[in-house]
C-alpha cells in the first residue's frame, strides 16, 4: 500500500504533472513569454495591452483570450494555478494573490542580455517547459550571432530618444542592444543615470550619427510622443540618420530584442556606406 502511495506521489511530482494548467498573466512582458512558452490553451487571460499589435508581438494570439487590467481579482476569477506579475504590478495585488494561496511568479525587467536569457529559462521552468525555454534562448542567440559587425569600421555614435525626451544611459539592456549593433551610446558622455530626460537642444548639439526614436506606429496622440515629432528633429535629418524602433521590440527584455539589434545594425551599415561611398 505504502509503495503504491509513494509511486503515485512520485508520479504526480514529476514534471509532466507539475505543469500549471490555468495560467493568468497580469503583465505585458509576461504575456509575451507565457504565450510563446506554454501549451496552447494553458494561458487563460492576458493584459489588454497585449491585444494591441502596436504595443505587443503576440497580439494575434492574445486577441483570442479574455483581457485583464492587471488586477488580482481578475486573475482569481480563473482559479489560476500560476499567476505571472511584473515589476510594476501593484504590491497590494501581489500580496492579495499570495494570501489566497495562488502561486505567483514575478517577471522582472532584465538589464543585461544574460538577464534576458535567465528570465526566459526561469519562466520556462515555472511553466514546466524547460526545453522550449532553451530553444527560445538558442534562437535568440543565433540571430544575435548572425548580426555581423564590421570590425574595421569605426563605431558610429548613437543616441536613443524616447517619448518625453528620455534617453537611455549605460548599464542598461538598451545600452547592450546598441553595443551589439555596433553603436556607441552617446548618453555615456552625459553623466546621467540609466534613464534620464535630455533637453532637445542637447540632443541636437551632441553630434550623433544615428538618432534612435522609440516610437509606436499610430497610437493616440500625447504630448510625450509629440516630443519625437518636434520640427528640430526633422531639420536635423540631413545631419544624422533617424531610425524609428517600435517600442514592442525593446520595451520588454524578451527574445524580440534580437530584431531590435538586427534593425539597428542594418541602419548602422547603411549609414556607414553613406559616409564612405
Amino acid at each position: 500500500m505504502r509503495v503504491i502511495l509513494c509511486t503515485l506521489l512520485l508520479l504526480f511530482a514529476s514534471p509532466a504533472f507539475a505543469k500549471p494548467q490555468r495560467v493568468v498573466s497580469l503583465n505585458l512582458c509576461a504575456d509575451e513569454l507565457a504565450l510563446r512558452l506554454a501549451d496552447p490553451g494553458v494561458v487563460k487571460s492576458v493584459t489588454w495591452l497585449s491585444q494591441d499589435p502596436r504595443s505587443a508581438n503576440v497580439a494575434a494570439q492574445a486577441a483570442a483570450l479574455p483581457a485583464n487590467d492587471g488586477h488580482a481579482e481578475e486573475a482569481l476569477a480563473f482559479d489560476p494555478d500560476l499567476v505571472l506579475v511584473g515589476p510594476f504590478s501593484e504590491p497590494t495585488s501581489i500580496a492579495l494573490l499570495r494570501r489566497v494561496g495562488a502561486p505567483v511568479v514575478e517577471v522582472g525587467a532584465p538589464q543585461t542580455l544574460e538577464g534576458v536569457r535567465r528570465q526566459i529559462r526561469d519562466l520556462a521552468a515555472a511553466l514546466g517547459e524547460p526545453q522550449r525555454g532553451e530553444a527560445l534562448v538558442a534562437e535568440m542567440d543565433a540571430r544575435l550571432a548572425r548580426v555581423a559587425i564590421d570590425p574595421i569600421r569605426p563605431r558610429l555614435k548613437a543616441l536613443v530618444l524616447r517619448p518625453n525626451g528620455f534617453t537611455v544611459g549605460p548599464g542598461s539592456l538598451v545600452d547592450e542592444i546598441l553595443s551589439r549593433a555596433g553603436l556607441d551610446n552617446l548618453a555615456a558622455r552625459l553623466d546621467i543615470a540609466a534613464d534620464a530626460q535630455v533637453p532637445l537642444e542637447v540632443v541636437a548639439l551632441l553630434g550623433a550619427d544615428i538618432l534612435i526614436l522609440d516610437r509606436d506606429e499610430a497610437s493616440a496622440p500625447s504630448l510625450a510622443d509629440a516630443t519625437l515629432d518636434h520640427p528640430a528633429i526633422a531639420a536635423l535629418a540631413s545631419r544624422m540618420t533617424i531610425v524609428s524602433l517600435p517600442a514592442r521590440l525593446w520595451t520588454c527584455g524578451g527574445p524580440e530584442i534580437a530584431e531590435a539589434v538586427e534593425r539597428l545594425a542594418a541602419a548602422a551599415a547603411a549609414r556607414g556606406r553613406e559616409a564612405t561611398p
Binding site: 518625453n164 530626460q197 533637453p199 548639439l205 493616440a220 496622440p221 528640430a232
Partner: protein
C-alpha cells in the same frame, strides 16, 4: 481723473518704452540661456546663410520659438488680466483665478487627445478659445454686473475646479498610456520644447484678441465712473462686455492651447503696474501686457537655470512669486472692507 493720477510718477510713453525695452532684453536673455552651450552669433550667421547646422537648428527651432512664445503668452495673460479686472472692476479677476485658463486647457485637451488637432491645423488654438469662451460665459452668468468679490472668487473657483476635473477625465479617457500623466502640463504650463509651427498657429488668434482688448481702453476708463455715466458718455456696455470676453478668450485660449494654463501672471502684472499708470484701467492694458511678458520670460529663464530634472513647470515659478502677492492683496482688501 487727474486726482486719481496723482501717484503716477512716470509718464505713460516713457513707461511703455522702458517696459518694452525690458521685455526685449528678457527675450534676448531667453534666447541666450539654455541647456546646451550655443554660440548664438555663429548660429545666427548660419541661419541667415541658410546653412542648416545643428546650432542654427537649435536657434531657429528651439530657442527662438521658446522666447517668442514666452513673450506672446505673457503679454496675453497680463493684458487679459488687466482687461478683466477693468471690466469686473475687481483686482482679483485674472484668467487663471476665474477659470478662463482652465476652460481653455480643457478645450485644447479635448481637441488634442481626440486626434482632432491632426484634422486641421487651427483646431488646437480654436479648441482653447472655445473652452475659454464657455468658462467666461459661465462665470459671467453667475457674476453678472456689479457682483461682489466673494461671488467672483467663488464662481471662479467653481469654474476652475470643474474645468480641471474635466481635463483630468479627458486625459484618463485617452488610450495613450502617457496621456494620464500630462495633467501637470495642462494645469501648470510649460514652454519646454515648444516649436515654431505652434507659434505661427497661436499668433493670428492671439493678435486679434489683443486688438479687441487694447481698443477697449477708452470704454474701460469711462467705466470707472460707473456704468450709468459710461452709458451716458456714449459707450455701449453690452458691446464692451462682448468685446472684452471675446478678446480675453482669443488671447488666453490660443496661448493656453500651446503652453498649458499658467497662473498668476494676469494677477501680478496689473497689480504691480497699476500705481504707475495712475489707476487708469485703459492705460494699464498695454503696460500690464508688457509686464506679463517680462514676468513670464523671467520665470521661464528661472526654470531652466534651476538644475532640476524634469524641468519645473512654469506655473510653479509664477505661483511662487504670485501666491504671496495674492495673499497680501486679499489681506489688504479684507482690512479695507
Amino acid at each position: 481723473m487727474r486726482a486719481c493720477a496723482a501717484d503716477a510718477e512716470v509718464g505713460y510713453a516713457p513707461l511703455v518704452a522702458a517696459l518694452a525695452a525690458l521685455a526685449l532684453a528678457a527675450a534676448l536673455a531667453s534666447v541666450m540661456i539654455g541647456y546646451a552651450r550655443l554660440d548664438v552669433p555663429a548660429a545666427l550667421a548660419d541661419a541667415f546663410a541658410g546653412r542648416s547646422s545643428a546650432a542654427a537648428v537649435v536657434l531657429e527651432q528651439i530657442r527662438l520659438p521658446r522666447a517668442a512664445l514666452g513673450a506672446l503668452v505673457g503679454f496675453s495673460l497680463g493684458l487679459s488680466g488687466a482687461a478683466l479686472q477693468g471690466l469686473l472692476r475687481n483686482p482679483l479677476a485674472d484668467p487663471g483665478v476665474i477659470g478662463v485658463s482652465g476652460g481653455a486647457a480643457f478645450g485644447a485637451v479635448v481637441v488634442f487627445y481626440s486626434g482632432l488637432a491632426g484634422v486641421f491645423a487651427l483646431a488646437m488654438p480654436l479648441g482653447g478659445v472655445a473652452g475659454a469662451i464657455v468658462a467666461a460665459l459661465l462665470l459671467y452668468a453667475l457674476v453678472g454686473r456689479g457682483a461682489g468679490t466673494m461671488t467672483l472668487i467663488l464662481a471662479g473657483v467653481t469654474v476652475n475646479s470643474f474645468a480641471g476635473a474635466l481635463t483630468a477625465l479627458a486625459l484618463n479617457l485617452s488610450p495613450n498610456p502617457y496621456a494620464a500623466y500630462e495633467i501637470m502640463f495642462w494645469l501648470m504650463g510649460s514652454l519646454a520644447d515648444r516649436s515654431l509651427p505652434q507659434l505661427w498657429l497661436a499668433l493670428p488668434l492671439t493678435v486679434v484678441g489683443w486688438g479687441l482688448l487694447l481698443t477697449s481702453a477708452p470704454a474701460l476708463d469711462a467705466l470707472t465712473l460707473g456704468e450709468d455715466t459710461a452709458s451716458s458718455l456714449g459707450f455701449d456696455l453690452g458691446r464692451l462686455r462682448a468685446q472684452l470676453v471675446a478678446g480675453a478668450a482669443l488671447a488666453v485660449g490660443a496661448a493656453v492651447a500651446v503652453t498649458g494654463a499658467i497662473g498668476f501672471v494676469g494677477l501680478v502684472a496689473p497689480h504691480l503696474l497699476r500705481p504707475l499708470v495712475g489707476n487708469r484701467p485703459g492705460r494699464l492694458l498695454l503696460v500690464s501686457g508688457l509686464g506679463g511678458a517680462i514676468m513670464l520670460l523671467v520665470a521661464d529663464i528661472v526654470v531652466r537655470l534651476i538644475p532640476v530634472h524634469p524641468e519645473l513647470k512654469l506655473g510653479v515659478a509664477t505661483a511662487l512669486i504670485g501666491a504671496p502677492l495674492l495673499y497680501g492683496l486679499i489681506d489688504r482688501m479684507r482690512r479695507e472692507a
